[in-house]
């Protein structure tokens, strides 16, 4: 399929990283993770448990077009109320498996900055704030970060502020998937998305690129994945993160 866009690849890549039976969370402004979780639940992770900031367990949203991830439409079909506070408690007691998070800057150790570009006290750019990331990334079993841009401003050698650090396992970008190496706790190239070459990744990343021992070619997106993606997100809300 040559007409697939980066949003399709990123969403499919994130869905594939969810294992069956895992308890999975995403935060605000996260259409692609929200759709990826539903995709995974249709395919290989039917027993994944979905908890979201909208406050529900196992919601099955029918519409992702809302601009607020706290919107009730994202809690549609839920089995039980589950507040953000419940999610923090779940993570604190070691029972949250996956959290989808992002950062304005991500470094080679998988740490993130959502606080400020420049100094914290006199910021050149004041960023939104870390939200729940500094409580979740240190406590969740697997942090999966995603970026809609892949350049040296986003993937940096050194963060201006370490808003959150901890258990990042994967980073997904429009060019590549990185996985943290157990040897040195640094992100290594795990896979290239079909549209990217390794030179693009090296040129556009602020930290050194090495291949992960599990490096492999990104398995092509299947017809089944595309079919479910269209079924879950017919309006293409996943593309909105790129507009």
């Amino acid at each position: 399929m040559s007409n697939l866009k980066p949003a399709d690849y990123i969403t499919v890549a994130m869905a594939r990283l969810i294992n069956d039976g895992e308890r999975v969370f995403h935060g605000v402004a996260s259409p692609m993770p929200a759709i990826a979780i539903q995709l995974a639940k249709k395919l290989h992770a039917k027993n994944a448990v979905y908890v979201s900031i909208a406050g529900g367990v196992d919601a099955v949203p029918t519409d992702y077009s809302s601009v607020s991830t706290a919107d009730a439409s994202l809690a549609e079909g839920a089995l039980a109320p589950f507040t953000l506070a419940d999610i923090f408690d779940l993570s604190a007691r070691g029972a949250l498996d996956v959290a989808f998070l992002s950062g304005a800057q991500i470094d080679g150790a998988g740490r993130l900055n959502l606080s400020a570009i420049g100094s914290f006290e006199k910021p050149k750019v004041r960023l939104p704030g870390g939200a729940g990331s500094a409580a979740l990334l240190p406590t969740v079993k697997r942090g999966i970060l995603w970026k809609t841009t892949h350049d040296k401003r986003a993937l940096v050698d050194k963060l201006d502020v370490v808003t959150a650090s901890g258990n990042t396992e994967f980073v997904v970008t429009p060019l590549a998937i990185f996985k943290k190496s157990e040897q040195d706790n640094q992100l290594k190239l795990y896979s290239l998305l079909p549209t990217a070459k390794i030179e693009d990744v090296i040129e556009n990343t602020g930290f050194p690129i090495e291949k992960h021992q599990e490096f492999h070619e990104f398995p092509r997106v299947t017809d089944e994945e595309i079919q479910y993606l269209e079924e879950i997100d017919p309006k293409g809300v996943r593309y909105s993160e790129f507009s």
Partner: protein, 340 residues
């Protein structure tokens, strides 16, 4: 290494000694069940003072007390400290209008998928708004929880090893049970709390549908609690199903009926975002001149919330927002920040 200064990390904001709060409650928080209905102008002038620490109920763009925010701007109440615990547009309006000069930040400078707020950013980057501390949504939740429980701190292991911990005002000690580090978050007792709810009775018993966020803890933590309700309902409706009452009357100081009080944001089940108005604000937010013009038109230029509702299009617009929320009309084009 990030530059760290003790000034940021060691000061406490919103904290009180638990015994001071016991005394405060004895003196100022009447448990009397009395009619607390008033006007928005009166509730705001009585509850919100220059220099107060203020926090709002709701979450993200849901149930934000925007009408009360407009009234704070109209009354030119200044030098406020905001706890940005997870909502954006409410306090960003105050930052844009200059009412807020200090902030404790969990999430606040973004408008979720609409991007960063230019006026709020400009306030912080120019120094007009001082960021006092950085914490997490969980941090605020737990700080209000400590206040609700009459404690001076809340212990957690969640943020150890991050700069956020350093900037949060928390302290790290050795947990005497595990002999390992534990983070102590300072309790937060806001001077004034404003919560927008679906329904309340005249005494302040509140029903909230859907996402409750941390409104219960917040209501119990606040020194002065203003409830703005979409509807004031008869006492008997509350008694029909007390399990629906999320906030009991005795923590509430003022109750105001404010229909469409979250506009241009949403109240679950009642009305959706006003994307047209949002686009107008996002366009205006690009320059200081247009921000001022926006406030002149919609806030200073309207004597109260009812005049504001007429200005934004009145019944015709509001009915449409209700239809969108009930999925009787299609969701409109999402407003986006344009230009630079």
């Amino acid at each position: 290494m990030t530059v760290r200064t003790e000034e940021v990390s060691s000061r406490l904001y919103g904290w009180e000694h638990p015994d001071t709060m016991r005394e405060y409650r004895k003196k100022h928080k009447s448990f009397a069940k009395k009619d607390k209905r008033t006007t928005l102008a009166e509730a705001v002038s009585r509850g919100v003072k220059d220099g107060d620490y203020i926090a709002f109920g709701g979450m993200g763009s849901v149930r934000n007390p925007i009408a009360a925010v407009h009234e704070i701007i109209r009354q030119k109440i200044g030098d406020l400290t905001i706890g940005t615990k997870g909502s954006q547009h409410d306090w960003q309006l105050l930052a844009a209008a200059g009412n807020v000069t200090k902030a404790e930040v969990a999430y606040g400078f973004g408008d979720e998928v609409r991007g960063l707020s230019r006026p709020a950013r400009a306030a912080a980057e120019s120094g007009r708004l001082k960021v006092l501390s950085e914490t997490t949504n969980a941090g605020f939740q737990w700080r209000f929880t400590a206040a609700m429980k009459g404690l001076s701190f809340y212990p957690t292991r969640s943020s150890l090893g991050t700069d956020t911990l350093h900037y949060s005002g928390s302290k790290t000690i050795i947990d005497p049970f595990t002999n390992e580090p534990v983070e102590l978050l300072p309790a937060c007792y806001p001077d004034v709390v404003i919560i927008h709810v679906h329904r309340a009775d005249r005494y302040g018993n509140c029903q909230i549908d859907g996402n409750i966020a941390e409104d219960i803890e917040l209501a119990h933590a606040g020194k002065f609690v203003i409830i703005t309700a979409e509807e004031i309902i008869h006492d008997e409706v509350i008694q029909q199903d007390p399990a629906l009452t999320k906030i009991p009357y005795f923590v509430v100081d003022a109750v105001v009926e404010v229909p469409y009080g979250s506009h241009p944001n949403q109240v679950p089940g009642l009305y959706s975002f006003d994307e047209t108005h949002w686009q107008e604000w996002l366009d205006a937010s690009l320059t200081d001149e247009d921000v001022e013009q926006y406030f002149n038109t919609y806030v200073y230029g309207t004597k109260d919330h009812y005049a504001y509702l007429e200005k934004i299009g009145g019944v015709r617009v509001l009915r449409e927002l209700e239809k969108i929320e009930k999925k009787l009309a299609p969701y409109p084009k999402v407003a986006r920040r344009r230009g630079k």
